[in-house]
Amino acid sequence: MKHHDDNLDRLRAWLIEDTGSEAEAARLLPVVERLHSLSGLADDPGAQTALSRLLSRELHARQPEPRPQRTVICIEDDPAMIDLVSLSLKTKGFEVLGAMSGPEGLDLISTVRPDLVLLDLMMPEMDGWEVYQRMKADEYMRTVPVIVVSAKAQNIDKVFGHNIAKVQDYITKPYSSDQLVNSVHRVLGIAGEGSS
């Protein structure tokens, strides 16, 4: 009985909201009571299960094939920058490994064989140009694509000179997450993916 009364109160409140008049709500209440009695028309639970299966197949078919995870090595003496790169690329499905010096980076590249190297130009112990040259001199590492990261565009020209053309891409600090992701996608030939 209470449930019925609650229902009536709710219907009356809706009517007042819809018509803006208590008198009109009272006039139309019997109509909406009859209408409301039509709610909850049951259907066939078997149809529901069959539909779920059909839709699941459709949903499954529309999911892209899982791509093997690609590894990026970030050679950079600033740990905060490595964290930032990691944050940007992990959300796009990359595994990011950091190396805080040139020698450490070369060790990691020869061990892991990454899909891509992000190479900071200005590092104290061994600068990016030297790391790049050693990579290209090594039969195992020479085919790994490199994106050079520099604080200023002119540093790249100064250090790499004519060799800049051999670098797959370069970006200058400060760069946005979108710029980084776009560059990585471009170098790895990953098309049709949003970068935001």
């Binding site: 809706w14 009109e24 039509l38 028309l41 149809a47 529901q48 949903l59």
Partner: protein, 182 residues
Amino acid sequence: MIDEEIALSVQQGNTEALARLVERHHSRLVGYLYLMLGGNRLQAEDLTQEAFMKAILAIGSYTYPRPFKPWLYSIAVNLVHNYHNRAEGRYPTAGNDVLDGLPDEDDSVEEKVAKHREIEQMLTLLGRLPVLQREAVILRYVEGLSLAELAEVLNVPVGTIKSRISVGLSRLRTLMQENDEL
């Protein structure tokens, strides 16, 4: 978990979440389409399936946290409009296929017959309302959507919704009175 979170999960390919969405909305959607189509049960189930299929195909365009229920119902409403625009979409005036399940199992035969008759009568009366008024009163007073949800589903201002409901209910009242006098 709310609908919007489930929809987000479906967007990421979770088929279990999809089954939950179907479980939550399938029955109501069949009921709504059944009333909109004058008691054509098979057509209501077909259009429900089509609505869900369209929702899955468009799930990539769903933007969380947009309310999911109005989003789903807007697909169903468009399907009904298209159906009525086609030749076979004429609202039937007889031969309604009354859905099973509304009467309680404990009801006597007489009670079941009375409930079925009431559904048939209501289907006939609803069929005499213009589609825009019919969908507004059904979505509001059978499906229980709020005015804001209705405005989103039907893509018209709240004032227009109120007007359609008010005119639709008044007309339904007149039709009920005429029917009772017969």
